[in-house]
Symmetry: C2
Subunit: 140 residues, 2 copies
């Protein structure tokens, strides 16, 4: 995840989760978001409730080898609407940006699978009741 403006404390909290639970998710600080959007070697997908319906865009999105999903806060600069390859709406009423990213990823990639044994300090065993966690090498 590219994060603008940079937030080192948030990046470290997420890195700590990754050390414990596995995965390659990393937070990369970005000072100049315009440069990132312009030089990204793939399609830039701005998720906004003003955009075209996700259902209509999925086929085109899936044809790109690399996608940069972009979400902004309350005030998104007008320039992003122009610079984006696609402006895509997950819903056309106000909604959570986190929800927009989650639904788009799910439609493109499906629901994430459990990490494999050995990939993380600790790993969940899916269960109908309660919590099952195995493979603890101690908290990170």
């Amino acid at each position: 995840m590219y994060l603008h403006p940079p937030d080192p404390a948030l990046a470290e909290r997420i890195a700590a989760v990754g050390r414990r639970w596995g995965g390659e998710f990393a937070v990369v600080p970005v000072d100049d978001w315009k440069r990132l959007v312009r030089t990204f070697p793939g399609a830039v997908v701005h998720l906004t409730m003003y955009g075209l319906p996700l259902e209509r865009c999925l086929g085109r999105l899936a044809r790109h080898r690399q996608l940069l999903l972009v979400v902004g806060g309350a005030k998104v600069p007008a320039q992003l609407y122009r610079e984006a390859t696609y402006n895509v709406a997950v819903g056309h009423q106000p909604h959570s940006e986190v929800a927009a990213v989650a639904v788009t990823l799910e439609r493109l990639l499906g629901v994430p699978r459990p990490v494999r044994a050995g990939e993380a300090a600790q790993r969940i065993v899916p269960t109908a009741r309660g919590k099952r966690v195995v493979g603890t090498r101690g908290p990170a």
Copy 2:
């Protein structure tokens, strides 16, 4: 949305969004979450990374006429795992509760459509660039 503990300021902010953008979303304050979970006339679906994979549960969930999706904060009482009809995981590593609700709703109901003309004070016209909003009766 049932909200425990109650937060009247949040409920009012969401109601204001609804008056402006349409929809019947409402926040109902709940003092006693256990009573709500026990008396709900349908299936109680606790979304937790420790549960069974969503993909395996979707068929069963779709058979119920009413579903109560439940998400908690950092410390979910063990009792909820027992009281829930299903404990369901959208992912088996730490993730946003908002994302879990969004992906579950999307898998059950699909992506929301634009509101129809006349249903809201203002309404988005999906567009490839920029913002198109019509039907303003003035800000609510």
